[in-house]
Symmetry: C2
Subunit: 340 residues, 2 copies
Amino acid sequence: MSVTIKDVARLSGVGIATVSRVLNNSGITSNETKEKVMAAVRELNYVPNNNARSLKMGQSRTIALLAKSITNPFFQKMIHTIEQKVFMRGYHLEIRNVNYSEHEMSMAIKEVQDRNLNGIILMGGNFEYTNEDFKRLGVPCVLLTVSAGKDVDKELYSSVIIDDEAESFKATEYLIQLGHRRIGCIYSNQGEVTTPNKLRFRGYQKALEANGIAYDPVLVSAINVSESGYEFGFNMMKNLMVRNKDMTAVVTMADTMAIGAAKAAISAGLRIPEDISIIGFDGIEVAEYYNPSLDTICQPAEQMSLGAIDALFGMLQNEKTSHLVYGASLLKRGSCTSVK
Amino acid sequence: MSVTIKDVARLSGVGIATVSRVLNNSGITSNETKEKVMAAVRELNYVPNNNARSLKMGQSRTIALLAKSITNPFFQKMIHTIEQKVFMRGYHLEIRNVNYSEHEMSMAIKEVQDRNLNGIILMGGNFEYTNEDFKRLGVPCVLLTVSAGKDVDKELYSSVIIDDEAESFKATEYLIQLGHRRIGCIYSNQGEVTTPNKLRFRGYQKALEANGIAYDPVLVSAINVSESGYEFGFNMMKNLMVRNKDMTAVVTMADTMAIGAAKAAISAGLRIPEDISIIGFDGIEVAEYYNPSLDTICQPAEQMSLGAIDALFGMLQNEKTSHLVYGASLLKRGSCTSVK
DNA sequence: TTGTAAGCGTTATCAA
DNA sequence: TTGATAACGCTTACAA
């Protein structure tokens, strides 16, 4: 709490500048003094004060990770990986949840000024950021699982995503090829805003269209409420089942929703996949342990996190921004089968 | 990035001290100047620099939450609640994962010095902290879900726990009352260290003993590896099933383990609860949506988090430490039934 | 190769 | 009620 660079300087009989130089390996110092200083540091158990350092250097070596819905199990693995890598590079990570009603970018901008942040990672949210946003931010920013509109300058930010629409297309077409025609869809709709869920919904629509199946809004449940994915999936599925007696399969836009939906189906006496096929999205661990194991579109969470970190630290070193699009894989584990 | 208190002072035509006073509501300032200053603040979009403030005040208004296993779904809700409350009180939260092999207390001590932390919350881990630890820490510390040994001075820290042993006793006795005699047990063992899991294991043993059932080590699986709860439960259950053809129920020390165990049982062709009863611990959301819904001991996560926050901020205001023990509730949802 | 000294943006003391 | 001014602990010219 109270041992400062002065104490170290005094004990080792050198000036504070020298201590600083030794500690930061900057400038030139003789091995002899170097050792004297290090001995004093050890003896006093000296730890540099980061606030002073940050103040002086005008930066805090801190990255903030703002996650829209921090409790989303899919984000867990990512958060964990990011946390590790950030610390590995000698930075600190501040993790913030963004509420349903909060705007992540305004939060980010405030935090940056308030804490002299060095960088921002935005997880989740939407695709609606503007040039203005990134300029006001003033520090490197990586969007993870989302991107910005196409009219936004790609030099202003980095992004790491999958092709939500194409992957969802893949999932839906998989069911179609299994012979399903009455395919329900559960996704979380946020009005006009472009979100990953909305893109996935488009993939669903396009797959139907590409295969000559008429889009039927009765098969879609998407009322938006601030529920957990499990609960949301459960409620939406109950909904769908009353309205569609002929539905043989359901596409959901998250594994949590798929689990909720599966529970609703099972509670209603249906068997999976015999009576109804269900497919999820994301690839969270528990989907594999569910009964039955759920088919899903699995996002490469680990790689995506590493990609985001690389992009961020690249920008920190004035390298160019990067825009990575990863491929996801269709995992067939038994919750979908061909229609009788 | 660059608008400082000086700019505000210049624009509003007052001294920087006055600006500081207005902003912090300290000292006395006329309403007139107050408004002038606030107008300038708004116009310049001024945000105080926290590093300077922290340096000056010798504290950072930052709390660190170190979680042993940040990806544990049970910790999610707690982390979320804590994050919200900490920010609501005007503090920042730094969330750190503690690896399997890292020692949370040494990490905490380092972080405190390095970042001028105001307080520490330790989640998970063990019950092995010492007087020395808390003294070296030098800032208020709350243990959440664990406590310190009984020989440690209660004035040095706060804690928020449940009575792990008693709750596990309750779970086991519930199965015994359902007529089970060959009851398996899955828990994560860390050698001699006292952990919540170990206490729960003792509860299991004592319940057997209290009901005249001989303890049989063959019914216990606890090899410790750094796997996720799901995977661990799955593997331990496979293990137990080969060794015990007569086992009719299993007590697990986490819902994640229960889910893994359930999956293993189902994969082996067993029905839950007809062929085998399974009970979990914690009360994570997905356990309810599992097929079948899992019986469990549900910890009041939300209340516990609030208790931890209250304890921490109490200590920050020099109030006494508190040691809260919450009650957990046995949720009967259908994964346990009476033995035939 | 080393030490002195000038800030970094605040807060707090002390005169005015 | 206000405004200079001295810290807070550090980094970094600039001198020595």
